[in-house]
Amino acid sequence: MTAVALDQESAEWLRGLRADGPEREQTVERLHALLLRVARGEAARRRGTLPDRALEDVDDLCVQAASDALMGILDKLNTYRGAARFTTWAYKFAIYETSSRLRRHAWRQQKVEMDDTIWDRLPDTAVAPLQRLERNQLMAALERAIREQLTDRQRMIFQSVTAHDVPIDVLAERLASTRGAIYKTLHDARRKLRQALIEAGYGEELTV
């Protein structure tokens, strides 16, 4: 993307962060305070997703998230092209660092377990008997494809995310990976399953 003319506030942030000495230090300090405010706001927004036992550590997590967001921003400052205001660009770093920490924190005492019978227990919204029968056949074909077409890692990630609602940030931590890499595995698994269903004659059911 080509660089665009920056608004005055964004240009001031960039100038301060690229300056030397006290001006840079003051700008970094101001940015850190802003990121910490965003992290705390995100934690407040996500409070309902956290179990009670997890609440007391939340502020420490916000402080860590703000620090890591700051590091990320300084590291990637040269990639900022002005497609949005500097603060909007910076906020997403704080949101990412905070939300991923909070998802992992909420799951800290939970195991990620595989249960292959989960596919039989997913709620079916089909009401009419014929419709239900068709769905059952489709689900049987899908289960077969999950067993036969996916690698062990793809199966584990696909099942954890889609059936057990394990956040990909939790899987990323436990598999020593990243959100992007886990999502890529999920995406590849979904593509294989779609292809298998099309080959099994269910292409029409998959059309949007």
């Binding site: 497609a83 909007t88 997403k92 990412y96 999502y183 979904r190 399953l193 998959l206 059309t207």
Partner: protein, 76 residues
Amino acid sequence: MTDSRLEKLLGTADADAGCDHAGEMMDEYVERLLGGEPVPERLAEFVTHITNCTACREDTESLLALIRDEEKKDER
């Protein structure tokens, strides 16, 4: 997709930006949306991604809520 359960399992088949590339586009998408501007074609992969990826969708919703709150404060 005929059924929301299938959509949750398989996502949509359209081109998907993936988490890393989507993260690069999130700020622009949010400002365009709040500014009432059309979302350009080059952000289509971002839109598909936030349909398919819960974590990135939630992060986008958080950024939208944050900027919207700030704009409301500025108006006061």
